[in-house]
């Protein structure tokens, strides 16, 4: 499925400065794999060596934090917006 992926500032060096890119995949896992093949190295910033989402990254498919959904197996329907956001909290 074709989706849009919002890229946080610290990863924009991988996407040539683009804040938003198109993505492709049936699940979040697929979308991230394709993202890494389009922008080599970006995958390793989002996923750790064991392939899990890094502790301090939040990934949203639509409005839902995927940790409340099916994690990397969360489906990515056509036209969805996926957001990758560094985790900060407090205030």
């Amino acid at each position: 499925m074709s989706v849009t992926v919002r890229i946080p500032t610290i990863l924009r060096t991988y996407t040539g400065g683009n804040a938003e890119v198109t993505g492709e995949g049936a699940t979040l896992r697929d979308v991230l794999a394709k993202l890494d093949s389009d922008y080599p190295g970006i995958g390793g910033r989002i996923l750790d060596e064991s392939g899990k989402i890094r502790r301090f990254v939040n990934v949203y498919v639509g409005e839902e934090d995927v940790r409340f959904a099916q994690g990397l197996d969360t489906p990515a329907p056509e036209g969805t917006q996926i957001s990758i956001i560094p985790a900060v909290a407090g205030g």
Binding site: R45, R55, F56, I85, P86, V88, A89, G90, G91
Partner: protein, 410 residues
């Protein structure tokens, strides 16, 4: 641009140790880990501190601020009372108990401490607008500090916060934007705004200035130790929202030990949450290393962070120090607010009800040593969360002005 951050030398990733120059960055490029300030303190003596002002700036040689910080337009928070709580101690069966009462700060919550540090960072980076995502206290602290520092302010809160907090955030000027969502969604929004041209030259105190901001909580540790006579408490109960305050108090104690300002003695750190938002407590009790996010539902709105970024660090610290993480119900929170008020004359907001409620529970469950010197934090004033006690906000009697009428009530 020449920057003056006092003893701070660099930013360092808490997860992987990668180092970065001092700048408005908050996340590690390698692993997204949170960045914190690294220092070269040099030699700091008790007399250097004791000769400083009655505010957090007595500890400026341990903070990322210039040496002349006390002369700049700032709210000058801190040096709040450490109250010897004999009555509360007797009520709970604790021999030596102190309440660190941070309601005494300029905007009546501990947030003034962390904002003061962020203001200096914003000044260093030439930012013109202070901003934040807030559960209420921070918005007031930021807008007040912006007014004093002559900066603009635009702060973001979840819709539905207590009226007192909204009034406080509005009165100092600037923009107050309520977002239709939870605090976690407000946080996410701010993270996105930072990466957008609209957020350029904005200092989000708890996002892109977070590595500086967070250091302000160390001053709680420093003050408690100094006020106890340059001695660490044996046990301390700290509320958990993001978990940052608890981790920075631990950091502050460790710095004091390393600098030789206090004797190296063990201390136990206990974290306190509301049952309705207790992801860290749940993880602690289940023996987990990771914290599963929750959707908060509690009257303790200032602690209602469902996805606490420092959660895993809190677990490490509670376990390492031999403390624990506990939680209490909303009813127990209200009862604790009343207990603290009636025994010690301190009116705590719901977060203070959480810590005192957890203190009571820790004693009752045998997790806390009643013979050991204990400090419990009250991080905000009860006037900010009047909703929690509004049922009692009535006179105990309404009478005509006659002695007979009064006699009838006795």
């Amino acid at each position: 641009m020449s920057l003056d951050f006092g003893p701070a030398t660099a930013l360092s990733c808490r997860e992987c140790g990668a180092r970065y120059p001092l700048g408005p960055s908050f996340a590690c490029v390698e692993c997204f880990g949170p960045l914190e300030t690294a220092y070269d303190f040099g030699d700091v003596k008790r007399s250097d501190i004791e000769s400083g002002p009655a505010s957090i700036w007595r500890y400026r040689s341990l903070l990322p601020v210039p040496a002349d910080v006390a002369s700049k337009p700032n709210m000058n928070p801190g040096w709040t009372p450490l109250v010897k709580a004999g009555n509360l101690g007797r009520a709970l069966g604790i021999k030596s108990l102190y309440v660190k009462d941070d309601s005494a700060n300029p905007t009546h919550s501990f947030k003034d401490r962390v904002v003061a540090i962020a203001v200096e960072a914003a000044r260093n980076f030439g930012f013109h607008t202070l901003s934040c995502s807030s559960t209420g206290n921070l918005a007031g602290a930021v807008t007040a500090a912006a007014a004093r520092a002559g900066l603009e302010a635009c702060v973001f809160i979840p819709a539905g916060l207590e009226q007192a907090k909204i009034a406080m955030a509005r009165i100092f000027g600037g923009k107050l934007v309520a977002i239709e969502g939870s605090y976690d969604e407000v946080n996410r929004f701010c993270s996105e705004l930072i990466g957008d041209p609209m957020g350029d030259k904005w200092g989000f105190v708890n996002v892109n200035l977070r590595p500086y901001y967070a250091e302000g909580s160390k001053t709680l540790a420093y003050e408690i130790a100094e006020q106890l006579g340059w001695r660490l408490p044996e046990q301390i109960i700290i509320p958990i929202a993001s978990g940052s305050q608890l981790t920075k108090i631990d950091k502050g104690f460790k710095e004091l030990i390393k600098l030789g300002l206090v004797e190296d003695r063990p201390y136990k750190i206990f974290g306190a949450q509301a049952l309705g938002c207790s992801p860290v407590s749940a993880a602690y009790k289940a023996g987990h290393d990771v914290v599963q996010p929750v959707k908060p539902d509690t009257i303790a709105k200032s602690l209602a962070i469902g996805n606490p970024a420092d959660g895993p660090y809190v677990l490490d610290i509670a376990r390492r120090t031999g403390g624990a993480v506990e939680d209490v119900t909303d009813a127990e929170i209200v009862a604790a607010i009343k207990l603290l008020a009636t025994t010690e004359g301190i009116f705590a907001e719901t977060a203070g009800g959480v810590t005192v409620g957890v203190l009571k529970k820790l004693v009752e469950t045998g997790q806390l040593d009643p013979e050991a010197e204990t400090v419990v934090l009250n991080t905000g004033d009860g006037l900010k969360t009047l909703d929690a006690v509004v049922a009692d906000a009535q006179p105990t009697a309404v009478i005509r002005p006659s002695l007979d009428a009064f006699r009838a009530t006795v």
